[in-house]
């Protein structure tokens, strides 16, 4: 059975309209033009208008295309469910790393080495011999960067400022 619309053909113009609304809303709060006719609000209003028109055109073109083509649209490549899970897990590891840096619980090198190992483990297919390489590389990369930033260059490390 053929779907009425591709989901993205609805989402794209909707997002464009939403963004246009947001731009107009923000532009309405800006002070009036003072030194030249365009003012700070000129461009946001212009872009909002353009996005609005483009999304209308996009909907029209989708409808036209639908009427014209009888062929079943090519289905987007479906990713296997475990791939989606792995992607989300990977993203979670990245976000957790940032949160830990922000909180300053542990030092930069520790947090980074654990992050590199964990994300590497999530993204590896087989994890037997590789794990040692992974840990070694993770530690070397984070230690090297940490030392470089603090000893050679003078940078205050993120988090609590400590190496470990």
């Amino acid at each position: 059975m053929r779907r009425l619309f591709e989901v993205r053909d609805i989402v794209v113009p909707l997002v464009a309209v939403g963004l246009a609304a947001l731009l107009a809303l923000g532009a309405a709060q800006l002070p009036p033009a003072r030194f030249e006719p365009m003012g700070p609000a000129g461009l946001p209003y212009g872009v909002a208008l353009a996005l609005l028109m483009l999304s209308v055109l996009d909907v029209v073109s989708t409808l036209l295309k639908r009427r014209r083509s009888r062929a079943v649209p090519v289905a987007a490549p479906q990713s296997a469910p475990h791939a989606v899970g792995r992607t989300l897990l990977g993203l979670a590891v990245i976000v957790a790393y940032l949160l830990i840096l922000q909180s300053g619980w542990v030092g930069f090198v520790t947090a980074s080495a654990v992050f590199l190992t964990l994300l590497g483990a999530v993204l590896s297919n087989r994890l037997r011999g590789e794990i040692f390489v992974l840990v070694a590389v993770a530690f070397a990369v984070s230690m090297g960067t940490g030392l470089l930033l603090t000893r050679v260059l003078v940078v205050v490390l993120p988090g609590n400022g400590a190496l470990f």
Partner: protein
């Protein structure tokens, strides 16, 4: 001339050569790593230059600059991640070529073009600096505006697939760029009460998000395949030979464009690549191959971005005005040594002024030798398992952003744009078009509004000023030319049109 030769003489000491080689190699490495770049490295090295001899410090920093712009093409070609912002156009054709199994060819095209672009622009720098710099100053706000407008016309070209979706993507880019400080009035726009957004969505977090993080997300979903399937054969790197000669027109044109855009203060090497790419596409016999692995696209982008490095040194040395972000930091390095950048530099410190020029050329040769020599090793990059390479890329993106902007908030912005980029890929919105709108719209807007203030609200000077008018005519030509060409083809090949209609 004799001073320049003398400067070359002094460059061939142990320490100058050491710093040029070290700088160039460091530059190529940080350039190749997505997240790290020349601006970051040079800014971080600034405190160290206090303790260095002024000539050595400056040639070191210039060599980093030369190396980094070239290094970006490696990750752009092999991983679809621009190593530096100047390599964004290289991803458009480099990666598709690599996917076709021509990674070696794509790399060597890029390396060779970088080298030749550096050579041609260096000649312009060494011979024509003062008059070129003077001429560049005649560019007023409307000239800049028109130039950028011309580059913006490329949006339809890079939006593979639907032009409408390309324009929507560019509109997203415009919208994202309006957030933050409005340079023409000093007010903060569209921050919706979030203080962290007072700096807007900056170049580095935004680009790394949509290009690198979104690519990491795509690669995470597909870990079965290595970074890319194509193998780089070492002999491919040297197989260019005479075949390269047919690009000579493109190389020459892109070098001049790149040098010129480099000279213009405040317009960076990514814009140089964008404009050269756009002109190459519009004058190409096969414009439809652009974005699908066109050799011409790689040649244009890589020639132009390297040419812009030497171009940007022109106003720095001749007038003391920085041609790019990196040059602004170089001026700081000069000031630290109490050297006054500007025309006086050639008379008061000839060893330094000519030394910088000489070093730029030597660094170009070192870059070429290093990148070709290590190309075998570079090529092996794509055989490293994803479990090792992707986390490292993310890590360096974190480090690059933190050390450039000094705060973790921008890393959140990068991750958010990673998700935005992923959604855009899903929605069929071209990331190239988005980035074009994002990079070009702030320049266009601020120059337009500066012009309105300068000419008391009038737009007339756009057509009465000759340089501005030239760009306007060129823009119209770019807009009309594809239509004319298509007409011609239809007349020539009537069969093609019927099959078009049937599909």
């Amino acid at each position: 001339m004799s001073e320049l030769l003398a400067a070359f003489g002094t460059m061939f000491g142990v320490w100058p050569i050491f710093y040029i080689v070290l700088g160039t190699v460091l530059g190529v490495v940080v350039g190749a790593i997505p997240g790290l770049g020349a601006a970051m490295l040079i800014a971080l090295l600034l405190p160290l230059t206090f303790y260095m001899d002024s000539v050595l410090a400056l040639i070191f920093l210039v060599s980093i600059y030369v190396g980094s712009v070239s290094g970006g093409l490696i990750s752009a070609t092999l991983m679809k991640m621009p190593g530096t912002p100047s390599a964004i156009m290289t991803t458009l054709d480099g990666y598709p070529m690599a996917m076709r199994g021509e990674a070696g060819k794509a790399l060597s095209l890029g390396i060779f073009s970088s080298f030749v672009g550096g050579l041609i622009s260096w000649v312009l720098l060494a011979v024509l600096s003062p008059p070129l710099a003077r001429f560049a100053l005649r560019f007023g706000p409307y000239e800049y505006f028109m130039l950028v407008l011309m580059a913006l016309l490329l949006i339809s070209a890079v939006s593979q697939g639907s032009v409408l979706r390309g324009l929507i993507a560019a509109g997203f880019g415009f919208a994202v760029a309006t957030v933050g400080p409005d340079v023409s009035s000093g007010v903060h726009r569209l921050t919706f009460g979030v203080d962290g957004l007072h700096a807007g969505f900056r170049l580095l977090p935004t680009l790394l998000g949509v290009f690198v993080i979104s690519q990491v997300i795509a690669d995470m979903a597909d870990t079965a395949s290595p970074i890319q399937q194509a193998k780089v054969r070492f002999r491919d790197m040297f197989s260019l030979g005479r075949g390269y000669l047919r690009h000579s027109g493109n190389v020459l044109r892109s070098s001049v464009i790149g040098t010129w855009i480099g000279i213009l203060p405040g317009v960076g090497s990514s814009v140089a690549a964008i404009v050269a790419y756009s002109v190459a596409r519009n004058t190409s016999k096969q414009p439809e191959t652009f974005g699908k692995g066109s050799e011409e696209g790689i040649v244009a982008a890589e020639t132009a971005n390297n040419a812009s490095v030497n171009g940007a040194l022109v106003p720095l040395l001749a007038l003391g005005i920085p041609g790019s972000v990196v040059d602004a930091i170089l001026i700081g390095a000069l000031m630290i040594h109490n050297l006054q950048p500007g025309p006086g530099l050639f008379t008061q410190q000839p060893d330094l002024a000519y030394g910088i020029i000489a070093a730029a050329l030597i660094a170009n040769f070192v870059m070429f030798g290093f990148m070709l020599g290590f190309s075998g090793l570079i090529a092996r990059l794509c055989m490293i398992p994803k479990g090792l390479i992707l986390p490292t890329v993310v890590f360096f993106c974190f480090v690059g952003i933190y050390t450039t902007t000094g705060r973790l908030f921008d890393i959140w912005i990068m991750l958010a744009f990673g998700v935005v980029g992923t959604l855009m890929r899903w929605g069929g919105l071209s990331i190239g078009a988005f980035v074009l709108g994002y990079i070009l719209s702030p320049i266009a807007e601020s120059e337009l509004r500066t012009g309105l203030m300068l000419y008391d609200g009038s737009l007339w000077p756009m057509v009465t000023r000759p340089i501005s008018l030239t760009f306007l005519v060129a823009s119209l030509a770019i807009l009309v030319w594809p239509v004319v060409r298509q007409r011609r083809r239809r007349v020539e090949a009537p069969t093609a049109i019927t099959s078009d209609q049937q599909s």
